[in-house]
């Protein structure tokens, strides 16, 4: 592992999204404020919930924005790079596939963590809270960012057009996130839907982060930790393999 090469690509990935900070950082923070205002303050008082509803949805909203930020960062960066043939200029250099994948993924982690942390800070204005497990927050924030950065890279390699990037967001990430308990307690679901939710991996990621933030969990925290580790490792290795065989980037 050559640290200069890795750091250089990571630096490029970070300055790329910082140069369009309104779109990449401030926009998701503003969306979260709106979610918190509408669902937390306006509607929250009407919802019969065990404990503070706004405190319950804050971790869910943070995870949702972390997922989208990490996914968008890698998918748009790599796809644009393929689309404009910039990737060829990277592939002719001695950078290894491991360095390349890790730099892209950590670029996504940085954006995900930045967005997540800013929302966390802003959400204190809505509901002052005490973080239950600080290390857990860091673990899930980084782990979830790695997973969704990794998914973003796979999708960017697979996609033929810009539209394909949003297909995955629209038909996969958004529904699985919303049905994973971002805005509601899964205990409110009828037994059949609750059983289905148990097969939704997003539920365990959201639940794990919620446990770390407010100390409340609706699933098995062990599964959340193991799933985060397993999916992070899987998507990292899968991307290294895809780059090594030159999937859609080499002829």
């Amino acid at each position: 592992m050559n640290l200069i090469r890795f750091r250089t690509l990571l630096y490029r990935e970070i300055i790329r999204f910082l140069k369009v900070i309104n779109q990449t950082i401030l926009s998701p923070v503003l969306s979260s404020v709106l979610y918190l205002a509408v669902f937390g303050i306006v509607l929250g008082g009407q919802i019969n919930h065990d404990g503070s509803y706004i405190a319950f949805i804050i971790p869910g909203i943070i995870v949702m924005e972390i997922m989208m930020a990490a996914y968008s960062n890698t998918s748009s960066s790599l796809f644009l790079s393929r689309y404009l043939h910039m990737i060829d200029h990277l592939l002719v250099t001695p950078i290894t596939y491991t360095e390349l994948v890790l730099a892209y993924i950590f670029g996504g982690v940085f954006r995900g963590a930045l967005v997540g942390t800013l929302i966390e800070v802003v959400s204190i204005l809505f509901s002052p809270f005490h973080i239950a497990h600080g290390l857990g927050v860091i673990f899930f924030m980084i782990g979830i960012s790695i997973i969704f950065s990794g998914i973003g890279l796979v999708v960017a390699l697979w996609s033929e057009e810009f539209e394909d990037l949003s297909i995955v967001t629209t038909y996969f990430i958004t529904p699985f996130t919303f049905l994973g308990g971002v805005f509601y307690s899964v205990k409110l679901l009828p037994p059949a839907l609750l059983a289905i939710t148990r097969f939704n991996p997003f539920f365990y990621l959201i639940d794990g982060f919620r446990w770390a933030m407010i100390g409340k969990s609706e699933g098995d925290i062990g599964i959340s930790i193991l799933l985060t580790l397993a999916l992070s490792a899987f998507f990292t290795m899968a991307n290294i393999y895809l780059f090594r065989i030159g999937y859609k980037i080499k002829q």
Partner: protein, 259 residues
């Protein structure tokens, strides 16, 4: 492990029986290269010429790792381009036919970042970047976004990027395409200077006068096969012929050969 070849008579690039066939979706297979073998010696100014679709770009892509051959081996400075790709690519500077720059980056940033991909330190780049910007008349554009440069400036920036890590070999795929005569001659001067400094240059171009003027060795490629390799100054088979005549003869002869 990085093998370094310094002997001028030893090939610095060895291409051995390379074949490549593309399998496009919903179209017949395209044979791009057929058992191509080629040697380029250290310090050479080597011109690879051929008609459109002859296989020039595929060969360049294989050399630079952008294309995986079906059969055969390619080594650069004794390093296999697939198994020892890090060492092979460290020796090469590439200016691809389609030069694509990061639209988010300034000219100066583009060079620093490219240097970083080659593992060059900040100290090295702080010295090298201004030097190259000066040499290629881009110093006053260092704080300009790359997408704001003119065509000629982009070509110069592409070559500057290829030289950022002080490579032993530079590969230039159609470096003067679309440039006016003055800019083309300006680039010729730069390339000649680089070659005199001992850098091996592999050039592909459509302009035969460019090859005639610059290159000391040439290879003609047609329909995926090398049909001529020799010394440009002797120009081989046809006595007293100009390169254009030789090129036409070789291509015509190859077209009429039974396959």
């Amino acid at each position: 492990m990085c093998a370094i070849i310094e002997d001028m008579n030893t090939p610095i690039i060895s291409i051995d029986h390379i074949s490549k066939t593309y399998h496009p979706k919903r179209s017949p297979d395209v044979v791009a290269l057929k058992e191509v073998s080629l040697s380029i010696h250290a310090g050479a100014f080597f011109g690879l010429i051929g008609p459109n679709g002859a296989g020039k770009s595929t060969l360049i892509k294989i050399l630079t790792g952008l294309c995986i051959p079906d059969t055969g081996t390619v080594s650069v400075g004794g390093n296999d381009v697939i198994n020892d790709y890090q060492a092979a690519r460290q020796m090469i500077g590439v200016s691809l036919q389609e030069h694509a720059f990061d639209p988010y980056l300034l000219v100066e940033e583009e060079l620093y970042i490219t240097g970083g991909y080659y593992g060059k330190t900040k100290e090295y780049l702080k010295k090298k970047v201004p030097e190259l910007l000066e040499q290629f008349n881009l110093a006053d554009k260092k704080r300009t976004f790359t997408d704001k440069l003119s065509g000629g400036m982009k070509r110069r920036l592409a070559i500057t990027k290829a030289l950022i890590h002080a490579p032993k070999i530079i590969i230039l795929d159609e470096p003067t395409a679309g440039l006016d005569v003055a800019l083309r001659h300006e680039l010729w001067d730069i390339l000649e200077t680089l070659n005199k400094k001992g850098i091996t240059i592999l050039l592909t171009t459509h302009y035969l006068e460019e090859v005639e003027h610059l290159c000391d060795e040439i290879a003609i490629i047609n329909k995926g096969s090398i049909i001529y390799q020799g010394d440009n100054k002797k120009k081989g088979l046809t006595e007293n012929s100009e390169l254009e005549q030789l090129f036409m003869e070789m291509v015509d002869q190859h077209e009429s050969d039974p396959i």
